[in-house]
């Protein structure tokens, strides 16, 4: 009891000594600009470069000298073998290394050669390292194993009828090396050590298959449907996997790389039948979708903030930290309970703190988050949306994300996903989107689509000593050697829109394939490298794109929609949230939906909500406001705003900071408390006609948001998260305060006790101070005076 009283007193003391600090107000001035014109219908063009030779094997016309050299270097006899194998490739490379004296390369070629050499050198280095290991191991090998190798050589020779023994040896080495590589890679897995320890204790035994079981198996148990009778005819392509990488050189000198992996599975997750046999679709995710009756699931982990004004629009926007929004099927009765369980399970799958999602940071947006897949659900009671702006994204989130890919990190584009490079970047965002999509244009049947996206922005300008150039190897410390064999399409796109004549930058190896796609309201041109074609890799058997900037700066098309948010005000009691939404369109006004979810400890004064653009009041045509409940749910504010052309719309709302209970503070309360990003969803007028046919085969990066009309495209913009300081007590105080108050109470009690129990005697005529006080009390109580 005493302790509780003490706490109250302590809080009282705290509130008395609130320190006031001013909040910095950030503001940037809007810039007006022009807009690109050019309208027309979208076409995918595949044209050959005029100089491109007909032979797909010799693919670049840009470097004729080099091509010639390579032809010289490759042994003529091998060309007849048709598809050269990998060992030959290495052989070739070795040969090339040996004859490392190009006759008279021009300066540019020399540089290029250097770059390639560097790449190759590094590859060689790792390979050499592995070979060293190999030789060491080989020394340890017993004679028996040497015999083994030789034996196997013979066998392989018989089988493949290959020419020299040397090549055989290379095969062997190559294989062993590859295996070793796999092994080391596998050893990186975290669970390895524990698993191994476990394994040691397990006893492994060969299965002794008794006669009867074999016999038993041979007889089809059920007479009704013998399994061998009906021919195994699995549907030709029940599931389909595509991978794609888009590289966009940014005008700031940064590089934006966007990976998309899409698995489409013609399985009915929403039917009554349980889906339990997985092929390309990851089982762990499928089980979650089945168990929790999830209709759509969108989850993203982002480190860093996307700078729209410098970088333009991302293909897939995401807020800093973690974001999760889920549409449940309408069969779910207890949506909140399911949501809670789901977040816990996902937190286990992705190794993230999603379990911190609870009712205090979950909202049900009424308009902003419509299902992205098919199905016109309007009842938003099946929707849950939550963000964790504090979430730090790192390798432990990347590893499980990569595990969901059918090829893992073993083949295809995913070999580039090395965490040490990906997290050494300005912006990193990885996401998983699961949604039902149409199987055919008529949309008779649905299939489940899983999109795994990874967006990363590399700041190569600063790390490359001011040299404005990049290559795949520089970005990812890997080059591409093959497509994922399971992928039906595997493509690398490089955005060359700003470089029609090659005056901005130079891209090598050049590709004859160009495609145009309408993305984010603009028609862009892309160089396409199709990894399923052997020709893309050229004679070096590895694709390492290199881009060198020529011009120092270029004009970037300013994004039409852009926003900022900040906290204003001073002191630790009140404040104001400002959201600025910029419409850079010169003559078109368009509507946007603004959603902000504010935690309960910032008490919004909704009556202070003002929306103004161009100095005039701008009344939102729709407002959905759900007030918060302390420790139960956050504020939810959704507004439909009309943005006048070429304007800034400012939304302000005042708030008061609440005092938290002492257990509610985070371990580092003076860092501040995050308020998640606001979401602006908009239908932005498009300068070119958008493609509304969703089933058409389009590049993945341009087909995520469904497009309903030609004149506009859907876009989502996330504002900055806010960091707000709350009044924070000194947490070392409680014990001191308890002691102090107890002492005060004890002193007061003690003197009172003394006065009540002690007997006083008259000694002198003039009463002392104590006697006078005692008399006052006695008079008060009606007891005879002393």
């Amino acid at each position: 009891m005493a302790a509780r009283r003490c706490l109250g007193l302590w809080f009282f003391l705290i509130t008395l000594c609130v320190v006031s600090t001013g909040a910095d107000v950030l503001h940037t001035t809007p810039v007006t600009g022009t807009e690109s014109s050019a309208a027309g219908t979208e076409t995918v063009v595949a044209r050959e470069l005029p100089e491109a030779p007909s032979d797909p094997g010799e693919h670049t016309a840009a470097e004729p000298t080099r091509e010639g050299e390579q032809n010289d270097r490759t042994r003529g006899g091998e060309q007849t073998l048709g598809q050269p194998t990998r060992e030959e490739e290495q052989e070739q490379e070795k040969t090339r290394e040996g004859e490392q004296t190009p006759a008279q390369p021009t300066r540019e070629e020399e540089e290029e050669e250097e770059e390639q050499e560097q790449t190759r050198g590094e590859e060689e280095f790792t390979r050499e390292e592995e070979e060293e290991e190999l030789t060491r191991e080989e020394e340890e090998l017993t004679t028996e194993e040497e015999e083994l190798t030789r034996e196997e050589e013979e066998q392989t020779r018989e089988e493949e009828e290959l020419t020299t023994e040397e090549e055989e040896l290379t095969t062997e080495e190559e294989e062993l090396t590859r295996e070793e590589e796999e092994q080391t890679r596998e050893e990186e897995e975290e669970q390895q050590t524990t698993a191994q320890q476990e394994e040691q204790t397990k006893r492994w035994e060969a299965t002794e298959l008794e006669e009867e079981h074999v016999h038993d198996a041979a007889v089809p148990p059920l007479a009704g449907d013998p399994p061998a009778a009906d021919p195994p005819s699995p549907p030709p392509s029940k599931d389909d996997f595509q991978e794609e990488l888009v590289i966009r050189p940014l005008h700031s000198g940064d590089i934006y790389a966007s990976f998309q992996f899409r698995t489409v599975w013609d399985a009915d997750f929403m039917g009554d039948q349980k889906v339990s046999h997985y092929r390309l679709f990851p089982k762990s995710l499928g089980q979650v979708i089945t168990k929790f009756s999830v209709r759509e699931l969108h989850i993203s982990f982002t480190q860093g903030y996307w700078r729209t004004m410098q970088w333009g629009q991302p293909y897939l926007p995401s807020p800093p930290g973690a974001e999760l929004w889920v549409w449940f099927q309408d069969t779910v009765t207890d949506v909140d309970g399911t949501w809670k369980e789901l977040t816990n399970v996902l937190s286990g799958i992705f190794c993230a703190s999603l379990n911190f999602i609870d009712s205090t940071n979950t909202v049900q947006p009424s308009a902003s988050f419509k299902p992205l897949g098919i199905g016109n659900v309007t009842d938003h009671s099946f929707l849950r949306y939550a963000t964790l702006p504090r979430e730090i994204v790192c390798t432990e989130n990347l590893t499980p994300w990569k595990k969901l890919l059918p090829c893992g990190s073993k083949a295809g584009l995913s070999v580039l996903l090395k965490s040490e490079k990906l997290f050494h970047s300005t912006f990193h965002s990885q996401a998983v989107h699961v949604r039902p999509v149409c199987q055919d244009p008529q949309c008779r049947t649905t299939s489940m689509e899983l999109r795994q996206t990874l967006n990363v922005v590399f700041d190569l300008h600063t790390s490359g000593q001011g040299k404005r150039e990049w290559s795949l190897f520089k970005m990812f410390s890997r080059t591409l050697t093959e497509a994922c064999p399971l992928a039906s399409s595997s493509k690398v796109y490089v955005d060359v829109t700003d470089n029609p004549q090659g005056e901005q930058f130079e891209l090598s190896p050049a590709t004859p394939l160009l495609t145009q796609a309408v993305v984010l309201g603009d028609r862009r041109t892309y160089s396409v490298y199709d990894l399923t074609q052997q020709a893309s890799f050229g004679s070096s058997r590895s694709l390492n794109m290199l881009l060198r900037w020529k011009a120092a700066d270029g004009e970037m098309l300013r994004p039409l929609l852009h926003s900022e948010r900040y906290v204003a005000g001073y002191g630790l009691q009140a404040g104001e949230i400002h959201t600025l939404i910029y419409n850079h369109h010169p003559y078109r006004a368009f509507p946007v939906l603004l959603l902000s979810a504010v935690p309960w400890y910032l008490r919004l004064y909704i009556h202070t909500l003002t929306v103004s653009s161009k100095g005039k009041d701008n009344r939102p045509s729709y407002i959905h406001y759900q007030p918060s409940k302390d420790r139960e749910r956050p504020h939810l504010l959704e507004m439909l705003l009309q943005l006048p052309p070429n304007s800034v719309t400012e939304v302000t709302v005042e708030f008061e900071r609440a005092l938290l209970k002492w257990t509610e503070y985070t371990p580092d309360p003076n860092h501040g408390f995050y308020v998640g990003s606001s979401v602006i969803s908009a239908l932005v007028p498009s300068v070119v006609a958008m493609d509304t046919n969703s089933t058409l085969d389009r590049p993945l990066f341009s087909s995520f948001f469904p497009c309903k009309e030609e004149a506009s495209y859907f876009m989502r913009v996330y504002t900055e998260p806010l960091l707000v300081n709350l009044p924070t007590p000194d947490f070392s105080m409680p014990y001191n305060v308890i002691c102090l108050t107890c002492t005060v109470v004890a002193v007061g009690y003690g003197s009172l006790y003394n006065l009540l129990t002690r007997t006083f005697q008259v000694d002198e005529p003039s009463p002392g101070l104590a006697k006078r006080i005692a008399n006052v009390i006695r008079r008060f109580r009606g007891v005879p005076l002393l």
């Binding site: 190798t149 060969a206 074999v214 198996a217 449907d225 990851p282 979650v288 009540l756």
Partner: protein, 563 residues
Amino acid sequence: MATAEVERKRGQLAALSIAVVVVLVGVPLWWRTTETYRAWLPVNQINELAELQLQLSVDVEVVFSRGTLMPEQQKKVPFTRTQEEAQKVDDDTTLRYRYESKYRTANIMEEDALKQPTAAEADLSLHTLSASPCGSVVVYVIPETSVLLPQGVDVYIGHRRTAVLRMGAPMSVGKNHKQLLAHLEPRITQVVQVMSFSHTDITAALSDRVRLSPGSKESLADSMRSFKSSPGYEITFSLLNPDPKSHRLDWDIEGAVHSYIQPLLTKLAPLANFSIDSQILYYAMLGVNPRFDSSLEAYTLNADSLAHVINPVEARLGSNAASSNPVLNFLLYVPDAHHSPLYIHDHQKQPVASNAFHSPRWGGIMVYNVNDLYGRGETPLPVNININMEKVMGVFLAQLRLMLGVQSSPAPPGFLVEPCGGAGLADWELDRLMWSRTVENVATATTTITSLAQLLDQIGNIVINDNIASQVSSTVTSLQLAVAELEAGNLGFALQYSKEAILASERAFFDPSLLHLLYFPDDQKFAIYIPLFLPMCVPILLSLIKIASEARQRRKLKQSKKD
């Protein structure tokens, strides 16, 4: 002086009343506001359960066919007879086995059934005559001369709960009915032990409670092979494709599961819930490099290295995110073109016929060689390969039986056990499993609940909510019912109750509310109270002492005055 006396009296009264107020109001108030809520737990019943006395009762029906009993014996053979056997497993656990035998002669229809040409047919027609309840055993005694059983076979055990026992030579049996029963009883017990439970099974099932003395390595391995009893299992079939560039694999897992695995699981449905799923993993490598054996022209995996095979794969298998039941993994590994054929060798360096191995309480792995399908390098890679599920599922089914503990201990000599049929499981095998699972559930639940009670007893600060108390009570009730049903011989109900008990006990034990409170040590708590308690209590105590001493002095004074 009178006023001084009055004043002194008043002071004393004030001190006393303050003491009274502190004791009557202050202390209870402090006590009440700082106490933790602890719901009532049936501690006595839990302690009773800690001393587990299990009695397992089996109903055995012994049916004498014509020609086995002489008329005078027939009259004298008792109607029922009970046989008991007590085993003390350890200080807290005692087991009693009770075989309740009923003797009767066969009726006409049974006689007809026993005249079938083969034992299997006789078994089937006996089953259609009367279905015996779960957990019971029917033994038909047939004369020595019967041709039903092949030569040298004394006992035949079929698919159901019936066994056929050959009488033995009349000379050895003896004329007296006592001699007859004495001759029959050990053999019937032997049959019952095969068909329902044996002491080793039950003690193995009690391993959660009783620390077994390390017996032979072989029996330990046997007892550790199968999964622990659980209300549900997840069965996962994974097809490992180490190199999708060299072959594309197709397996009709749906059909195979439907026709091979599902019948067994349907049979096992009373035991636990099973859920099956499958996945294909690409670029899934084994953890070791197989050695090339030149004599076999094949790669080999030694038994010693099998332990390391799984590690890289296991990281990718993934646990079931949607449930917490144990997962049984069955992996089918198809080596790529450069590493096939791959054979598994046992400890004696002999190839394993099934080319498969299993790991206790984990699952099994089978290597499926497809090198003959490559067609000597003429076909372009990747090769499309359709997996023969019949071959694969035969192995996996055998492994699944082992993992689930459906293992028949080798039958004693003279026994003929009919191989299990389409369902993959005989009725008596299911009974056997149910016996041991029930005992295991009871053992686990009692251990859980007693340790929970101990924990709650030790830490006085833990809040015990009402829902935990209700879970504990329902565990105790279910346990008592399970034990009672075991005693009565109702195996089905006993299993049901034991499952309920184990679920409730786990829920109570892992309830998150038990962890919510922060526990402060007592000395720290008192350190916080001291600034309040010390200045308040010391004056009260001192004045009380003073009052007491004054009262004593006064009494002395009075005494002296009297004197």
